[in-house]
Amino acid sequence: MLGNLLNRSNGKAGEGSVILLATDGSKPALTATKKAVELAKATGATLHIVCVREDLMRMPLEKKGEDVAERDLMGIHAKGGEVAMEWAARNSVPAVLKTYDAGPVVGAILDYARQIKPSYVVLGHAGRSGWEKIALGSVAEGVMKHSPYPVVMTRGYNDAYIADLLEIALAKLRPPEEVAEEISAVPMEELHINRKLGVAFGTLLAFLIPYFGLGALNSWAGDIATTKVLGDFNVAVIWVLLLFPIGWITAIVFHRMASKKEAEA
C-alpha cells in the first residue's frame, strides 16, 4: 500500500529503481531502515545504504560527552550498514553498502545521492532539541533542505516496531573507536633505536647548544653579552632573536632527515 502510494506520488519508484537509506545505527536510523526495506520490497527497488563515519578533531572526552548527551536520543550505537544489509537480505531486497570514512555527514549523503540518483532518500530524524540541536545540528533536516531528491523521514523510534532489527543490531554494536594498530614483527635490532636516538639528539643539539650557550653568555660573559654589534642591538638581543630561526631550521632539518630515513626503511 505504501509502495502504491509512493508510486502514485511521482511514478519513479519501481522495478530497476533505487532507494537510498542513510543510517548511523541508532534507533531512529533503525526505524528508517525498516521503512526503507519495506519500501524497496513493495516497489521492487534496489536499496543503497550509505554510512558516514564522523572523523572529527575531538578529544576522547569531547566525544564521550557528545555520546552521553545523545544517548537517550540515539538509543543504541550499532554498525548501521551491516544491520541494514542483513535486514535487506532477510527480506530478499537487493542492497548495496557504501561507507564514507570521513566528511560532513549531510555532504556525504548528498554526494552519494547525486551518484545513484535515488527515487527516495530515507533517513531517521533523531529529534534533537535545545543545546544539542544548536551544537550538532540535524542531519535529517540538512538532507531535507538540500536534497534534490524526495526525502522520506521517520521521526523518533518505537522499540516494538524495530524489535526484530534491534536483535540484529545488538549483535553488531560498534566497538570503541580506539583500534589497536598492528605491531610490526621486525627483530628489535632492525628498529635501529639507538641510531634514531642519535639522529634525534644530534639534531636537537643544533638548538640546545646555542640555547644553553645564551645562558652561559649571560652568566659568565656579561661584557660580551652587552656589547653592541648592530646599531642598538647588543649580542644578547641578537642571540635571543636568532634562536627562533635556528629552532625553525632545526625542526625542518629533523623532519627532512626523519622522512628520508622512513623512506629508506
Binding site: 575531538r58 540535524s138 633505536i193 642591538f233 627562533f244
Partner: protein
C-alpha cells in the same frame, strides 16, 4: 573601570570565538558540501589547535608583561616555551603518536602493564602540573577583571573560577578543539595588531628604536625596589615616559639597563635552572601530550609540531618587541603601580595597558578579549586533560573497570570541578605574581615529573617498572619542595639555594634516581612489543 565600548568588545570577541567554534563543529556534520574523506583534518588544523591550547595567559599577558618589568632576562620565557616544542618534536612526538597513547599513565602502562602505582603516579603528576598551570591562568583572568570592571582581585578570581568551571563542564567540554583552533588565530592576530600599532604610533615603525629605548631604561621592577624608600621620588603618574626614565636613570646611574642580563636570574644557577625547566618542560605537559590524539599519522605529528613552532616562534618574537615597547610607553605607570602597592596590575597588565595607550578603548577591548580567549582555551584543555586522566586512566582502569561512559563523564566533571576549586583557592594567594613566572614553575615540574620518565620509557630498553616509578617520585618530591620554597621566598633547602626554577635540581634527581633504580632492578615490562610500537614503521 573601563568604558562600555571596551566591555562590549571583550564580550563580543569571546562570544564570537565561542560561536564560531560551535558553528564549525556543527558544520563539520551538516555542511551540504562534501569534501574528500580524510583530508579535513590537516596538520595545519592540528598545529592551530596545539597553538591555541599552548598560548595561554602566560604567553599573551605574562611574557611581554615580564619583559616590560624585568627586561631581557624574561625573553627566556618565550625562548623556553618555544624550544620545548623542539625537544618534543625530536624526542617524543612521533614515538608517542605511534604508541597511540597520550597520557603519561597510559603510555607507561602500555610498557609496564597492569601497574596501578604507575597509573596513580601518572594521575598525581598530571594533577599537580596542571593545577600549577591553571593557577596562573586564573590569576591573569582575575587581574583582567580587576582592570576591566574595577572589582577587587579576590572577587574577580572567584567569579572567573566559577565561570571557567561552568564553561568547561557544560558546553566547553565539547567544541573545545574547534575553540582552540579559533583562539590560536585570535591570539596571534591580537598580538600582531598590538605590535604594529605600538611600532606605528610610538616608534615610527622602527624596531631598532624599541631596543635603543630599552638600553636607556632601568627595568621598573629593579628600579622600584631600589627607589622604594627614596623620599625624592615624584608622583610618577604626572610624568611622561621620557621624564620618568630620565629621573630613574639619573638616580640609578650605572645600574643594569633592560638589555643587561641578570636582573631576574642573577647567576648561572638561576639562568640554567630556568632554561632547563622551560626547554624540557613542554614535553612533559599533560595537555600538550594529549593534543597529539587528533594527529592522524606519525608524519603529521612532525609537520603539526613544525606548524606550532612557526606560530609560537613568531608570536614570541613579537612579545620581545611588545615587552620592551611597553616598558617605554608605560614606564611612569609601571613605576607608579609598583611604588603605589598595585603590583598585581604592574606584573601582568602591560599588554592591555599598552594596547589602550596606542589604540584606545577598542584595542584595550581586543587585548583583554584576546587574553580571555587565551585563558579559556588553555584552561579548557588543561581541565579536560585532568578529567580524562582521573576518569579514564585511573577511575575506569583501577577503581571501576565496568564504569559506563555516563559514569566516566560524570567522574571527569567532578574531577574538573574539584581541580578548579583547588586552583581558585591557590590563585587567591598569588595576586602579586607574574603569570609567566608561575607557568615557568609548572614547566619545571613537568620537566622533572614527566619528561624523564617518558624519555627513558620510549628510548631505553633497560628501563624498569621500579625505575619509572622512582623517576616520577623523585621528580615530584624535589620539584614540589623547591617550587613551594620559591613561592614562600625561602632562601635555601638542605643547604641548596632556592632558584627561580626547580629543574636544575629536580630534573637530574629524577634522571639519576631512575637510572640507578633501573640498574638495580629487572622488570623491563613488555619492552619488545612497546619498542616495536614506538619505533616500528606504521605508515
Amino acid at each position: 573601570m573601563t568604558s562600555v565600548i571596551t566591555l562590549l568588545i571583550v564580550v563580543a570577541l569571546i562570544a564570537v570565538s565561542l560561536g564560531v567554534a560551535v558553528y564549525t563543529r556543527r558544520s563539520a556534520r551538516t555542511s551540504s558540501e562534501f569534501y574528500v574523506a580524510g583530508q579535513n583534518i590537516s596538520w595545519l588544523q592540528n598545529a592551530l589547535a596545539l597553538t591555541g591550547d599552548y598560548l595561554s595567559a602566560a604567553s599573551f599577558l605574562g611574557v611581554a608583561g615580564a619583559i616590560a618589568i624585568f627586561g631581557i632576562d624574561k625573553t627566556w620565557d618565550g625562548l623556553g616555551y618555544f624550544g620545548g616544542y623542539i625537544v618534543l618534536l625530536t624526542l617524543l612526538a612521533v614515538p608517542l603518536r605511534k604508541v597511540g597513547k597520550y597520557t603519561t599513565s597510559e603510555i607507561l602502562t602500555t610498557r609496564f602493564k597492569g601497574s596501578k602505582s604507575l597509573r596513580f603516579g601518572g594521575m598525581l603528576g598530571a594533577v599537580v602540573i596542571s593545577t600549577f598551570y591553571v593557577v596562573p591562568q586564573i590569576v591573569g583572568a582575575g587581574a583582567l577583571l580587576q582592570l576591566l570592571l574595577g572589582w577587587n582581585f579576590t572577587f574577580s578570581v572567584l567569579v572567573v573560577g566559577a565561570l571557567v568551571i561552568a564553561y568547561v563542564t557544560t558546553g566547553g567540554m565539547r567544541a573545545t578543539t574547534y575553540n582552540q583552533i579559533i583562539q590560536g588565530l585570535v591570539l596571534w592576530g591580537a598580538m600582531f595588531i598590538i605590535m604594529i600599532l605600538m611600532l606605528g604610533t610610538v616608534f615610527g615603525f622602527n624596531p631598532g628604536d624599541v631596543l635603543a629605548q630599552a638600553d636607556n631604561m632601568v627595568p621598573p621592577k629593579l628600579a622600584s625596589v631600589l627607589l622604594a624608600n627614596d623620599p625624592s621620588v615624584p608622583d610618577f603618574t604626572t610624568l611622561t615616559p621620557d621624564e620618568a626614565i630620565a629621573f630613574v636613570s639619573g638616580k640609578l646611574t650605572g645600574e643594569s639597563t633592560a638589555l643587561t642580563p641578570g636582573t631576574f636570574a642573577p647567576n648561572w644557577m638561576n639562568t640554567m635552572a630556568l632554561a632547563a625547566g622551560l626547554v624540557f618542560g613542554t614535553a612533559g605537559l599533560p595537555h600538550v601530550l594529549t593534543r597529539y590524539y587528533t594527529v592522524r599519522k606519525p608524519k603529521d605529528a612532525r609537520t603539526s609540531t613544525i606548524g606550532v613552532l612557526l606560530m609560537i616562534g613568531s608570536f614570541y618574537i613579537m612579545t620581545v618587541f611588545v615587552g620592551f615597547g611597553a616598558m617605554y610607553v608605560l614606564y611612569p605607570d609601571l613605576m607608579g603601580y609598583f611604588l603605589g602597592g598595585n603590583s598585581s596590575i604592574a606584573q601582568n597588565m602591560a599588554v592591555p595597558l599598552l594596547a589602550e595607550r596606542t589604540g584606545g578603548e577598542i584595542m584595550l577591548g581586543v587585548a583583554i578579549g584576546g587574553a580571555f580567549c587565551a585563558i579559556l582555551s588553555t584552561v579548557a584543555g588543561l581541565l579536560i586533560t585532568i578529567g580524562t586522566t582521573v576518569s579514564h586512566d585511573f577511575y575506569k582502569e583501577v577503581i571501576n573497570k565496568k564504569a559506563s561512559d555516563r559514569r566516566e563523564v560524570l567522574v571527569a566533571k567532578l574531577a574538573i570541578v574539584a581541580m578548579g576549586i583547588m586552583a581558585v583557592g591557590i590563585s587567591l594567594g598569588m595576586a602579586d605574581q607574574n603569570v609567566s613566572y608561575l607557568v615557568t614553575l609548572a614547566f619545571g615540574m613537568a620537566a622533572s615529573i614527566f619528561f624523564p620518565v617518558l624519555f627513558m620509557s620510549i628510548w631505553w630498553k633497560r628501563y624498569t617498572r621500579q625505575g619509572a616509578l622512582a623517576t616520577m617520585i623523585a621528580g615530584l618530591i624535589v620539584s614540589v619542595v623547591f617550587v613551594v620554597a620559591a613561592l614562600g621566598e625561602i632562601e635555601s633547602v638542605l643547604g641548596l639555594p632556592v632558584l627561580v626554577n626547580p629543574a636544575l635540581y629536580s630534573l637530574p634527581a629524577a634522571i639519576i634516581t631512575g637510572v640507578v633504580v633501573s640498574l638495580l632492578t629487572k622488570d623491563v615490562g613488555d619492552v619488545e612489543s612497546f619498542m616495536r610500537k614506538a619505533h616500528g614503521k606504521t605508515e
